[in-house]
């Protein structure tokens, strides 16, 4: 934490490219949620319920959308207002400034185990009991926590952070500014077996995993090495907890993968895709750029670009909502059908005529 950092409201406005209304010299020392802010803190007021009630926060400054019409009015009331195009991004930036990532400082711990031919850049930070294999390369400022295992021939770029108890198998390529959360397993052999007389024979997996720049891998993820070639996690991708990504998958840039998602082998996922919690994708499918799969969606067909699907098997989200609205009444529909059958039967008897639906 960066507890002695102080900036004026004007400096913060400049930092995020925003327009400042009100006191430009207000001293700000931190960030806090709307309801719990104090006079030396800045808060986020991006939604209507906050913007209508700016007198309810105790914050000294607030970030608001540039479309907000009442900036001057509220600023006159004493709160410094920073108006920006993208309030959440501005908020993230100011939080990053006040709360830079926190790591212990180990330099290269005497208790780490470093293999032959380790080449690394400036200011490495490697914790006790980390194990680094042979012929590993790392850029500047890598942080490797205790109990990380890095296999032979792994490469890492600059500013990579690998948290505790992560396993990175041999031959994995990791870009710059990648964060790997605790307990993740990168590059184990993909799940490939050939049936042979009722038993299963291992198909060696001789590819690897490539994690591109600016990726964050969540805790306890399993990302498997390719049979041949590469399992690829495109730049800017963020994954949440306990995600499974099988061999030969390719995930496009800036896609977001929420907790407990499972992606089967050889799936190709486009850019800026959102996979909500626990979505699952069957093997060999393609998910188009910008597609959104709802929570628990189970996908068994290719998904076109920019479509929103839900359910298992997944269907368009709006259709799924309509189906789900009707589904709980299904037993009543069944009864109604029985009633109609009975009525028609009686009407036919009454008319003295028996019709045949099949003719």
């Amino acid at each position: 934490m960066n507890s002695e950092t102080v900036r004026s409201s004007a400096q913060l406005a400049k930092m995020v490219g925003g327009h400042l209304y009100g006191d430009s010299e207000k001293h700000i020392k931190g960030v806090a949620p709307f309801e719990r802010s104090g006079p030396q803190e800045i808060t986020l007021a991006s939604d209507v319920q906050f913007l209508k009630n700016l007198d309810k926060t105790g914050a000294g400054a607030a970030i608001v959308p540039e479309s907000f019409p009442d900036c001057e009015k509220w600023a006159a009331g004493g709160i410094s207002i920073i108006a920006v195009k993208n309030p959440r991004a501005a908020w993230a930036k100011i939080m990053q400034f006040f709360y830079p990532p926190y790591h212990p400082e180990w330099k290269i711990s005497d208790a780490a185990h470093i293999g032959k031919n380790f080449i690394c850049g400036e200011n490495p930070n490697i914790g006790p009991f980390a194990v680094i294999g042979e012929n590993v390369t790392a850029g500047d400022r890598v942080v490797i926590y205790p109990h990380v295992y890095i296999g032979d021939n792994v490469s890492m770029g600059d500013d990579v952070i690998i948290h505790a108890n992560v396993t990175i198998a041999f031959g994995t390529k990791i870009g710059s500014r990648v964060i790997i959360q605790p307990g993740a397993v990168i590059g184990r052999d993909g799940f490939g077996f050939a049936p042979d007389g009722g038993k299963w024979k291992r198909i060696p997996q001789i590819g690897n995993v490539h994690i591109e720049d600016d990726v964050e891998i969540g805790p306890l993820n399993a990302i498997d090495r390719a049979t041949f070639g590469t399992t690829r996690i495109g730049s800017g991708v963020k994954t949440d907890s306990q995600v499974q990504i099988a061999h030969n998958v390719s995930v496009g840039e800036n896609s977001i993968i929420v907790a407990q998602v499972g992606i089967s082998g050889s799936v190709t996922i486009g850019k800026n895709v959102t996979l909500a919690a626990r979505a699952g994708i069957a093997q060999h499918l393609t998910i188009g750029d910008g597609a959104i799969l709802g929570p628990k969606a189970g996908v068994m067909k290719n998904v076109p670009e920019n479509t929103v699907l839900s359910g298992t098997p997944a269907i368009p989200h709006r259709q799924w909502l309509r189906v789900q609205a009707v589904l709980p009444g299904l037993p009543e529909l069944k009864k109604k059908i029985a009633t109609l059958e009975s009525l028609i039967e009686k009407m036919q008897v009454d008319a003295g005529k028996k019709f045949n639906a099949e003719e």
Copy 2:
């Protein structure tokens, strides 16, 4: 294990506040399941199929419900009977007595890495290659297995057990008598990002995790630190394997969370709630005290107290059962509707009249 421990049937009855029928001096050395018990073992007979067949166990003693009318009869047959209000709880207590938790004894291993200002109580038991950060405090009798990583400024109460390969990030608060099973990840940064021009910017997570007294966290759980404030696991909560609990969640006292459950950010769960295996809860929802979510239930609305829900989206469990009973017949219902349509069409033709359903 405690293999030389022996108690008389009378001592065991006293231990669990039960009433003893039959031989009070019988020597009992252990606990075994009904079908596989020997004369020096005690077994549990809480269900009707066991109570009717007490001659089928070889056990020297049996725990039965106090409502069981035939205690004296069976005791006369030679088996010591201990009648209690809550047989399963009595059984657990007797098992705990005969089989106290087993841990290796390391004291503080020379091969552990202990940071500055570690303050701990009596009889710590810290395994090789455990890493404890700076300014960590622990109560009496903590057990910390190998390859545990504990970040800076973590506090623990008495009798805490942290199994191998667990990661506990900085600032986590842990109460007394907490057990954390292997591979769990406590306190990593919550999954919070702000979209910014098609990319994702990390929103720093400056809160922490608080695990209260008597909690057991299952293996490979991921419990994320709060954005602000605290992600709270209330006292007495038990979680099973591979559970995900996102940032800012609060779980009420004595709730039980079965394997592979996923709880999204800012969810509030009441007391004595049961989340069956793989239930999922969307963000910002509230689950009332005593609610039960069935296996794989997907909850998208607040859940009132003491309700039982199933399905995705979750509906009342009984209604869900009725829907599921009808659902497999849906194709036949569709055919039946087509038949009725055809019949009505023919009846109209026959009557020489065309009606309009819309009018």
Copy 3:
């Protein structure tokens, strides 16, 4: 990797018991996928789209099914053809030959922590910071990666490979040729608690886990010790990532368990069963030999042998397909029913008669 290994096409044919067509002296140095093979590589052409296009691969040799009629024709064109009964198994065998498993060589690392009375066979390979408890036995050629924790009284057969950050609790039995992928947790206490006045009391779990020969356990699996007796993983079973297997489960020989499956307590699974990704099984059920559960299937009843089920609750797969085909049209069916109701109402009015469906 085994990059200097070279074999003639005749030698490879002999290795897999295949029939060779064409040049028997062709030098083969490796295996590659169909589209990316070179003249010194062998590829797999088991499917029609490859067999029709054997001129499209650059491979020097191809494995084909023995039923393929055009072996001689293609061989005359220059590619060596190896015809076998089971092409995928032959391919796996040849890949295993060219790419034997790769492990660093540690012998017994000075930085490993070996407990009292460790008995092991020839050529152990134990990495730094591995911890082996007391009274552990191991066969020949075991490979134990860094940060593995093996509790007391664990036994292992020959050729066992335990990857990094795995936890194996005391008393676990492991057969020969078992592979345990990174981060798996074997033998933690099963999830057993007795309710007692609104709280939960731990039921000690005094059984163990037995992993039989030729099993592969996926990364981040949790396999729990039995309450009494043994949780058994039968020989030849393969599990994928993030699988949960609860206490007292028995998995039959050569069953395959895909990623994120959850198996509740006391379930008995037969031989050669397939549990597709994320299938779930409720407690105490029996799954017959050869059964197949589809992705996300939720099983709440016993499953007979050789049945294929899908959905939650699971129903026969073909029926499930029919239901899923109709389900998206449910809102339209509901409208149609309303239309029919209206028509029947009008027909009755027109006929001047009101029928009663209940009579």
